[in-house]
Amino acid sequence: MSVKQMTMPQLGESVTEGTISQWLISVGDTVKKYDPIAEVTTDKVNAEIPSSFSGKITELLVDEGDTLPVGEPICTIEVEGAEPTAEKPVKSAAGKTTQKEEQKDTSMKRRYSPAVLKLAQEHELDLDQIAGTGRSGRITRKDVEKYIASAAEERTITEPAAVAAASQPSAAGCFSEAVAKEVVKPAVHAPRTSVNEAGDRVVALTGVRRAIASNMLRSKHEIPHAWTMIEVDVTNLVNYRNQIKGAFFKKEGHKLTYLPFFIKAIVTALKEFPRINSTWAGDKIIEKKVINISLAVAADEALYVPVIKHADEKSIKGLAFAVDELAANVRENRLFPDDMQGGTFTVNNTGSFGSIQSQPIINYPQAAILSIESIVKRPIVINNMIAIRDMVNLCISIDHRVLDGLITGRFLARVKELLETINPENTPIY
């Protein structure tokens, strides 16, 4: 006795799947070889499948109406006879023999590809200092690229990988000066007289934390920060968003938060005030043409600033999707260095922590950073009457070498104007 499988036959060239339209037998039936057992439909032919064996049907593996690829099992037949448990593919155990562990073979360590040599030359690298992850210890192009990137992070810091820290929940408004200082000091200068009292926990620094620390320090060291804040009446925005968020989620599968609307207004204002979207370059100021918005996104132990590239080319929907994607990438550890480069202005959604005021540290080498605080209902005087309005504070830190109060004030006033006059006509979702 042995059990055989019947499979979906190939019923013609180019046919790759078939649909069982009707079973002609049921479990327990006895069939003879070549007896029809099922009707099959493909988009080329209809046909009956003949049994390949004589025996008793033991199981139907698919239902009528099911479509399945050629070669998939459709039913099993118990066959008389003493054949060895037939059609199982006989895989030799030898094929799986213990893989030879490569015991620290470094025979390829000094075989350099053209790409590796070129990079090493361009960056004046000593290849002996780089660990090879390729076969037999070969240094791959990626190894060199990673080495260059990490060296840049540690020493020259051309682009910040991470800005700020949220190591304790209470430090949620993580851009505040006080918190940043706390983080920076131990990171950069090893404490000379560290005293560990009983019960203290010593936390080793991760690469990200180190990068955050040195970026913060550098920004605070080099950039003369100035700070200001405005309050904005976003009642219109709140009403507009409440009105459409349900439909948006239904249609797009993404939640529609306030953030895309804020980014849209900021980007529009940045286009009108290119000086805000600029960088200090020693003997000159460079106004950036592209508008790439760095977005502070919290992770468990750190804060990343992935970039929405060409934010000025995106609709509200496009921004909403971009924000969601970046946040997901951060959460799932899928950020690539490329995702964090090229930012020209940073937006920080501190309101999501419940903060109503913060003093952000600029994301070096940008010229300004803006944080959006919580939207709260407050009594406001309008036309000598008291009304309940949805209010939000926008806080901005600027590089005072690049920007002065006047232009910053105008920029903020414009953002305020854009936000306060939002309506479905001037701010379509698509």
């Binding site: 790759t16 590809s113 790409a115 070969r138 192009r141």
Partner: protein
């Protein structure tokens, strides 16, 4: 809005239908394309819709199919000639290579041949030696011709319409196995895809795969599996295999410095061999590993016997192995 999902072959039919209704000079001809609707049903329904004068059943004579097409094209028509199987187009090779490809040049630009030749090709369908070959390399050395091999229903429609509207001869190879295996979204509107442009089907950072036709899907399958191991694969679909999109090939090769070239055709002198040469000429200092080719063995024909056919065809597991091999190099 949800786009309609069509099979590869339905996209062929839709493109033909739309072009025939758009331009009365477009007509189709070939063996069994009329009443029968084509041996694969690619021209299904066209005979009833456009009549016997525009959907013409021809004798079993590929040389004549190509020759009549060339003549009609020179007189201003836009024939779409079907070779029932690309394996049988060699009798027409003289017409295609010596006449269709060279007419514009020989007539000093006075005449041209705006003809499209559709030809099902490819193996893995248990078709044996006369119904499994890849013929593109034979024609990929003939300036004056364009050779298109789409991989997805979307590309099928856009490229076939562009081929029909092209003012010079185009050979349009359709993969038999893809006909009903590959399905995808196809917009209902009238769009074309420029000939001669490759398409990045997947963005990655570790290994670049450059391929076309059914193998694009094998590469995608392999890439999906390898992503779980942390290997990121970049996939370029050539779409037009002659002339090649050199810029796209160079860009894709530079992207990772590790290149796997993949074809279902036999290896030596195949389309990917030319891609290898382009990379070698342009990308030396970006390469981080030897350029690798994965192709069918240099054997005379696809065997009929199932296990041998399986052994002959390039398989997704092989693609996966080669990509992993390059990633680990």
């Amino acid at each position: 809005m949800q786009l309609p999902v069509l099979s590869y072959i339905e996209a062929v039919t839709q493109a033909l239908d739309e072009e025939m209704s758009r331009d009365e000079n477009v007509f189709v001809m070939g063996e069994d394309v009329g009443k029968r609707g084509g041996v694969f049903q690619a021209t299904k329904g066209l005979y009833d819709k456009y009549g016997e004068n525009r959907v013409i059943d021809t004798p079993l004579a590929e040389s004549a199919i190509a020759g009549v097409g060339i003549g009609a094209a020179m007189y201003g028509m836009r024939p779409v000639a079907e070779m029932q199987f690309s394996d049988f187009m060699l009798p027409a090779a003289n017409q295609i290579i010596s006449e269709a490809a060279k007419t514009r040049y020989r007539s000093n630009n006075e005449w041209s041949v705006p003809m499209t030749i559709r030809a099902p090709f490819g193996g893995g369908v248990h078709g044996g030696l006369y119904h499994s070959q890849s013929m593109e390399a034979i024609f990929a050395n003939v300036p004056g011709l364009k050779i298109v091999i789409p991989s997805t229903p979307y590309d099928v429609k856009g490229l076939l319409k562009a081929s029909i509207r092209d003012n010079d001869p185009v050979i349009f190879f359709e993969h038999k196995r893809a006909y009903r295996l590959i399905k995808g979204e196809v917009p209902v509107d009238d769009y074309t895809i420029p000939l001669g442009t490759a398409d990045v089907k997947r963005v990655g950072t570790d290994v670049t795969v450059i391929t076309y036709g059914l193998m694009v899907h094998y590469a995608m399958q392999a890439a999906d599996k390898l992503a779980a191991e942390g290997i990121s694969t970049h996939i370029l679909d050539l779409r037009t295999v002659y002339p090649l999109d050199k810029e796209a090939i160079i860009e894709a090769a530079r992207k990772t410095g590790k290149v796997l070239l993949l074809t279902e055709d036999t290896k030596e002198g195949s389309v990917i061999s030319e891609a290898a040469a382009i990379i070698a000429e342009n990308c030396l200092f970006d390469l981080d590993a030897p350029i690798r080719r994965l192709a069918a063995p240099d054997a005379p024909a696809m065997p009929y016997a199932g296990p041998l056919e399986h052994a002959f065809m390039v398989k997704p597991e092989q693609v996966e192995k080669e990509i992993r091999n390059l990633a680990e190099f």
